[in-house]
Subunit: 666 residues, 2 copies
Amino acid sequence: MHTFPERDCLVSLSLTKRVPPNTSIVMETMAHETAIPSFSKNAMILDSPEPPSVWKEVTGTVKNALIPRGDKPFSPLSFFLSCIKGLFPVLQWGRSYNLKSFRSDFMAGLTLASLGIPQSIGYANLAKLDPQYGLYTSVVPPLIYAVMGSSREIAIGPVAVVSLLLSSMIQNIVDPTADPDTYLKLVFTVTFLTGIFQASFGLLRLGFLVDLLSHAAIVGFMAGAAIVIGLQQLKGLLGLGHFTNNTDVISVIEAVSSAVHQPWHSGNFLIGCSFLILILATRFIARRNKKYFWLSAIAPLLSVILSTLIVFITKADKHGVKIIQHVHGGLNPSSAKQIQLTQPYLAECAKIAIVCAVIALTEAIAVGRSFASVRGYRLDGNKEMMAMGFMNVAGSLSSCYVATGSFSRSAVNFSAGCKTAVSNIVMAATVFLALQLFTRLLYYTPVAILASIILSALPGLIDFKEAMSIWKVDKMDFVICLGAFLGVLFGSVEIGLSIAIIISFAKIIIRAIRPRMEVLGRIEGTEIFCSIRQFPMAIQTQSVLVIRMDSSFLCFVNANFIRERIIRWVTEARDTIIEKAGDKLESVIIDMSNVTNIDTSGLSALEEIHKELVFLNLQMAVANPSWTVIHKMKVAGVTASIGGEWIFLTVADAIQACLSSKKENV
Amino acid sequence: MHTFPERDCLVSLSLTKRVPPNTSIVMETMAHETAIPSFSKNAMILDSPEPPSVWKEVTGTVKNALIPRGDKPFSPLSFFLSCIKGLFPVLQWGRSYNLKSFRSDFMAGLTLASLGIPQSIGYANLAKLDPQYGLYTSVVPPLIYAVMGSSREIAIGPVAVVSLLLSSMIQNIVDPTADPDTYLKLVFTVTFLTGIFQASFGLLRLGFLVDLLSHAAIVGFMAGAAIVIGLQQLKGLLGLGHFTNNTDVISVIEAVSSAVHQPWHSGNFLIGCSFLILILATRFIARRNKKYFWLSAIAPLLSVILSTLIVFITKADKHGVKIIQHVHGGLNPSSAKQIQLTQPYLAECAKIAIVCAVIALTEAIAVGRSFASVRGYRLDGNKEMMAMGFMNVAGSLSSCYVATGSFSRSAVNFSAGCKTAVSNIVMAATVFLALQLFTRLLYYTPVAILASIILSALPGLIDFKEAMSIWKVDKMDFVICLGAFLGVLFGSVEIGLSIAIIISFAKIIIRAIRPRMEVLGRIEGTEIFCSIRQFPMAIQTQSVLVIRMDSSFLCFVNANFIRERIIRWVTEARDTIIEKAGDKLESVIIDMSNVTNIDTSGLSALEEIHKELVFLNLQMAVANPSWTVIHKMKVAGVTASIGGEWIFLTVADAIQACLSSKKENV
């Protein structure tokens, strides 16, 4: 056995003052029994070094975040170079890029474009914008992401949920049909602010903001949003002229049922439904046989072409089938002048932008992480945020609305065998070509087909299996999931999100207010002490009650609760032991190994517990207080009032000391 | 050594399926070394019983709260009787009450009244009410508390902070000088609602609501309130006619400096200051010599009598000294009809009432607990809340405003040797007599004397020593204290409270978002694993990295942070070990003993950690997951993907298994 000679000397020196006369015998008794004399362990805990101060921790975190790690000395040039490298990952993977990878990326990019073009038009429709804005959004942001992003599989462009968010929140300020110009301006302003927020989250290392939406909340929110989006498509599918601006289920059902009494054209519904069935059928085939995944990828484009041809040939637009009509082609026009960073809308736009920023990042990072984990590399959340931010700022200046990584298109990109972000460049180039050459061909495209393309993408957002597994694993998480779902469905997107966030944080606070506490017993033949509820075979020592606080922060919200429960348990245990065994409860050991921090309320609770135990004529011992706790106990004088010799490293040592002191007293 | 024969059989049965072929040798190796074979300990943790469900915990808490504990069978009659006994503690202590106790209580009650009468008039002035309302408030509430309360030392009546709260918040709705009738109605309505809130807190066992204000927040808030109250007294002390209605320092200084240019009468200031010095001098004497404590107790009454006589004799009121003038005497009139539970003020009143309810309870329970702890008995917070609630409801029906336990008067009550709450009854009777007989004598009492009585009570509210000790012990708590102090001083009472509560909860949330994590090492010669930062003598096993999560709830806010940090530490440790020792990192042990709960995000983080460690070619083991955690891990299938044989009861077992598997691989 290795011993610490100098340390032991130091320890006995420092202890001579502290130990009362009658405990020296106790220590000798114990010294025979354990490998290291327990008084030296006791001193170890009392003499442990001071923990880093709050100030040091904060500056440490900031330093860690800003200055790159490594053994090399810090130089401005290398720092600048590493920053540039970090900002543009293309500089790293670009050097080893070869033709073979490009062939894969080219095919993946083309497949992506065939899915992306119809989806972009559909999502623009959902965002209450003209079709070309969806296409614009599939050009500039993917290009920026390709040079700044670190994911290889993410496909960038407009997505359903963010489109819904934008339209449902901005139309509370301005009616898109009554004042489309102001609406458009607000969309660009929100996009610009979204980019600014995202970039600053990345810059300030606020990656945790994305974590504020728990997994359960996202599952519920996505499912609710999918249903809301689906209901919105009824307008296009039924070819309705008037429809509600509200997104909740009740308003939509009212709108649809009132529309039933108006004349409507079955042609819209027929086209929409038949192509929806076609798209779903190809997806079914693709899922059965992975070889045919491209079938499901090009089905939307095929549907657009076929349905446009059908309408053109049958002249169905003369018989009530609604068509897209004119689509602006050409280069993305500049929209820098349309961004309005002035009142009266700035505050509202900032509010919308922060919601969009968090939701867009959550979706993109979830997509990116899941594919990165499949391919076996790691994504840096903060860098991703910077890339997304710059891409949306650039987008807002070139007539794009908020873009992010799309679940469905990233999956297609992955399946099509993309190797790098070059597939995004190919996709953007294809969309750009389409904007230059083919926008006129979209004139006769029926609106119903857009609805069916959006509808076909929705089942992927509803993860019923995951919701069931959340129910099985964690009931409280399911409540969060259900809250988000019902909130989106019957309230609005913001209400659903707020409900989910409030329940999530309430859960953390409630756990802090009402922590678990456990009575411990010894696993026989060992020095291991476990909860007697979790391990029914654990045996309690008759005259000693061991209580563990299962709270990591003994603070104002739980100090009184813990104090009262300890006293109640102690009095109950005292009565039971006297009744049953005729023996007497002599000591109470508080196992503080789980308590990593304490505040002044917690310290005074500890002192009160000690006082009340003294009133009950019981000895109190504390086992394994952590670093910060023992430091604060010493500063606040709690150690002195409990007695330094009654603070132990382990529960076993504490029990031994308690039993020995009992023997003496007898 | 005691073994568990049936359990071992069960264990080996259940393990035969789970254990891969090459680990059976490992287990045999270990069986020689530890007292209980570690595979049986391993099984203990996997087979631990299911923890109580959330539903069971909630119903258990409710049951515990509503139905009295005890072995006796439940019967409606005994339940009713125990409820009555619980509601009226007087039924218990009243039976053993004797003449000797009464003699002590009588003297204490008289002393209390001599301090209480001038204070009540002063506080009524602070609450912008006529003097008699302060006296009324010292009659009915103490009587109710005497039969329902369980503290023996608390002195009930109006207090400074609640009076300030009432006037500063209600005058935002109605100006007390312009419309005194409505103001009075609102005061009674707020008092009524305060009582209702307090009683329902007690009934619903919401005792923790009082804990939401941390000790540090209260220290800061009280000090801020004391200074604000002191500044308000400048009006009376300087005899100013016009004064600001705002309570913040800046408004008050502006008001005073603008008043300097107006003519003012030095008589007020002279009387106020000289008697303030007198009162403070008596207190100084009393503190030096405990025998003379009654001197400081009757000094305020003496000052009132003397100053009234002086004014009466010198006719100073003709020369600008402001006097109280008419004080309504007689029985407390009914105010039931003045309570207005209708709009437009109801919502505002309810908001004010909830703040008053919490602040009043916080003060009373703090006072009650500190004296109970001196005398060695325990106060039931919930019962105290019920008593306070009923007392304020009754008060609001009989022209009283919010009453609570007062710091200064309770101390006098205690020093005067009170034995039971009978001293409150004596005090109430004395005040009642004064109301009947002596109100006319108060006609010439100068207003400045009320200011000096209030001012003399303020130093007790400013606990500079405590603030210093908070600074020493916990910097974050000091920030809370300072926030409350500055918020009250420069904003308003509500702003100060909100700042304190927001910082307090932010602290809990931040600790949850950024938990500590520790690398563990073994204390040589033992099976004890400790943080190598806290115990620098702890020694790490070369090829094994042990990481402990110091968070009690592995959940959405910290799962990603913990995952990323573990992976970073692991890669760093791998590089260092290879560089320095030529050895290789083989295994990573996650010590989960501090994690008492986990949610779905936490579970998927665990799974991802496992995946990433597999990518890095490292073995992952989990040590000591708690009850709920192991249950959820099993249900979610995380146990299966990590491998049941890699989950251990202790870190020591896990290390042994890791080392043995390494030997085999070699």
